[in-house]
Subunit: 242 residues, 2 copies
Amino acid sequence: MNLILFPPESLRHSPDGTAYVELRDPRRLRHLHEVHRATIGERYQLGEIDGEIGEGELLAFDRDLARFAFTPRRAAPQPLDLHLLLALPRPRMLARSLENIATLGVKRLTLLHTARVEKSYWQSPELGAEKIRQHLELGLEQARDTLMPAVELVTRFKPFVEDQLPALLEGRRGLVAHPGAAAPCPRGLPLDAPLLLAIGPEGGFIDYEVERLIEAGCEGIHLGERILRVETAVVALLSRLY
Amino acid sequence: MNLILFPPESLRHSPDGTAYVELRDPRRLRHLHEVHRATIGERYQLGEIDGEIGEGELLAFDRDLARFAFTPRRAAPQPLDLHLLLALPRPRMLARSLENIATLGVKRLTLLHTARVEKSYWQSPELGAEKIRQHLELGLEQARDTLMPAVELVTRFKPFVEDQLPALLEGRRGLVAHPGAAAPCPRGLPLDAPLLLAIGPEGGFIDYEVERLIEAGCEGIHLGERILRVETAVVALLSRLY
């Protein structure tokens, strides 16, 4: 952890204006103990979820509580203005992709059913809100970011693409990554360029899906002749775009 | 597997000039059975290691042998002229990184010891030649590539950087990825631009190491203020460079 995230309710102020952070959740306490080998008096990078990043001096630490004096220093890094539309990956790959997506600064993710997504993936415990949140937190902590991405699950492709996607693309450039598309992936866009990027499952979108996405206003783009696994493609596309 | 790789010795020619591929290795036979549910008469993409890619029609398939009629069609995709110098990652991350490196077209990899590499990583069974080769093959099969990367292990940083690196950098641009470096990672280089790219371990190169790499002729580059895990950084850097 390059940063220790804490929820806003962990932040307390004493009458003299000093800010304190009190962590009680077992995952963070364990991590402080096992990875940081946290020691009283040491300073750590702390970040308030959806808030500021600063320095925390560890004042007290036992099995149930870690207490820091907190001095906020700076805002979170600039987010991407990108809505990622990702065909639901297999559970193990989902976990890593969520971490990478959070690390790379995506703040809006739609996990979508498509023809080549196995229906059983939707039953995975990895899709529980708490599990998703844990992976996103790990990704944010890796990147030293505090802004929590929003994730929605969409189990029906057609109504989403027909009824919701056109409105999502108003004022936003839509891209669909598809091997064999005519145009190469754009490069070096500004972080605040409004984008929507659609990435298919292992095996890709089927032709029908690509046609519907293009009809809704997306441009087909490719990364070259090499076929990448989805989790690799997510990183490669985001890194090439910005 | 988007491609089934086979070693040159699996290729046989009948007197009438027809080429056959005979696979006997258990991993490929199992994969053909379990993932492809291979059926006699079906056609598969086959590639000779370090050779051509083509179409294979499955003629016979049992527990010990798969036999294809093979028609070569095209050469492997263009490789990168990039020598990747990677601080040895932790074993689990090494496996995925080897796959990604092979998928993305790197053909020369040096795994290097640095101050923040745990010594125990060098004892991992993942560093066995056969294990490394398996991960590289999976990566090549994913990308539909046949050109096997060369991997060398270097357990001493200083003699490598002082005695070997300057010669490796003759006619080759050297880059060292380091958060906080002055220059952003270059973009959109041609695939055949001769490069050497050094990537540190989790926690980064130490200052001394960055200084030695720069002294040997490398330029420091960064990917922005977000800190990426090594396996993510490998993909992000390669995708941004080309």
